[in-house]
């Protein structure tokens, strides 16, 4: 009985010793949690003087052509301009450019019909450079309508979004070098940076 008792006591002490080993260290783990929302931003335009031909410049967000018509031919004068926007998208996104009129059209049309031989709209080309991606929109002025072009960018990106507009000499919505009906001409361009769904 004594022997068994002694063994029992030793056994109990042994198990106590094992418990001490398992509790000799204790660990608590906590997580740190946060989120970063999807975001695309486009800053204010800045004019690039080196790319400016026959434009008065940038007034707010308006680009005004200096001499739209060549006084000799009464057709279109060449013009070009380049503006940059500081832009950021922190996820894959879509770049889109949209023209309201698909060309420079008379702001206020005076008659329903266009006199034969005269032009009442001026085509132009828009080009967006976004890092190594190029997005082009040919506003051909054939039909007054909304036109757009877009491309998908599969990465987050930041930098200068570069917009260039080019109007060719003599380009009209009828034949080349057609005289242009007097009036004010304009179009509205919109640039979109949209998170991909």
């Amino acid at each position: 009985m004594r022997k068994r008792l002694a063994l029992t006591v030793l056994g109990l002490l042994g198990s106590t010793s094992a418990a001490a080993q398992s509790n000799s260290a204790t660990t608590r783990t906590m997580t740190v949690d946060a989120t970063v929302p999807r975001s695309c931003t486009v800053g204010a335009p800045t004019l690039q003087p080196s790319g400016q031909v026959n434009f008065k410049g940038l007034n707010g967000s308006s680009l005004q052509i200096d001499q739209l018509v060549d006084p000799t031919t009464l057709s279109t004068n060449a013009a070009s301009i380049e503006v940059h926007f500081e832009a950021i998208c922190n996820l894959p996104h879509r770049l889109k450019i949209e023209t309201q009129n698909n060309g420079l059209w008379q702001v206020q049309e005076r008659g329903l019909s266009r006199p034969s031989g005269f032009a009442n709209a001026i085509p132009y080309r828009a080009r967006l450079d976004w890092s190594n991606d190029v997005l082009q929109l040919n506003a051909d002025a054939r039909v007054r309508r909304i036109a757009e072009s877009s491309l998908l960018v599969s990465e987050s990106r930041l930098g200068d979004l570069r917009l260039r507009l080019d109007i060719d000499a003599g380009s009209t919505n009828v034949q080349t070098n057609a005289p242009i009906i007097a009036g004010s001409y304009g179009d509205t361009l919109r640039i979109f940076l949209e998170p991909q769904q």
Partner: protein, 186 residues
């Protein structure tokens, strides 16, 4: 508690043979040494605050895309921690990283935020771990005596991995971990 019940059991069992021997001749048994020990152990206590998360919310200034300069999270407190012997408190942490989008970020972007985690209240100098640092000698601190008390775990000094001019990529879940270990020191 376990040692106490063991001592009572020994006494009860010894009483029976001792009484039976007294009827014939005098005899003694024993002494029977009753021994025990108090193991060296540590308990990490109970975490207050209802959950185990440091919730930082939105990491960026949404106007600039850069890491917010006012990031903060309420400390966590481990209440009732104790060690019955000399001990060592250690802390380690992993950077906050995007969980959903694990691809390498594009130029100008980062998907990781570094910070410093600290555990204070146990030792004179808090145990500290900076996730940006390759070496963290202050991450383990020793205490020479048994102790019980609260341990306050905090995070701070946030910075964007790769430089604070980098933007963070969008992700609904950025996550890191902070681990505090309380151990018997040799």
């Amino acid at each position: 508690m376990r040692f106490k019940s063991l001592a009572l059991g020994v006494a009860g069992l010894l009483a029976l043979p001792a009484t039976a021997s007294a009827q014939s001749t005098t005899a003694t048994a024993g002494p029977f040494p009753v021994t025990g020990n108090v193991p060296a152990l540590c308990s990490g206590g109970t975490l207050t605050g209802g959950n185990t998360s440091f919730d930082l919310g939105v990491l960026i200034n949404t106007a600039t895309g850069l890491l917010r300069s006012d990031l903060a999270a309420a400390p966590k407190v481990l209440t009732g921690a104790f060690c019955t012997s000399r001990s060592r408190i250690s802390i380690s942490a992993t950077p906050l990283q995007s969980v959903t989008d694990t691809a390498a970020p594009g130029s100008g972007f980062s998907r990781s935020v570094n910070y410093t985690a600290s555990a204070a209240g146990w030792t004179t100098n808090p145990a500290q771990f900076a996730t940006a640092s390759g070496s963290n000698p202050a991450a383990s601190q020793d205490r020479g005596t048994a102790f019980q008390g609260d341990i306050t775990v905090s995070i701070g000094s946030f910075s964007t991995a790769g430089g604070d001019t980098l933007r963070l990529i969008a992700d609904p879940s950025y996550q890191g971990t902070v681990t505090v270990t309380l151990a018997v020191a040799n």
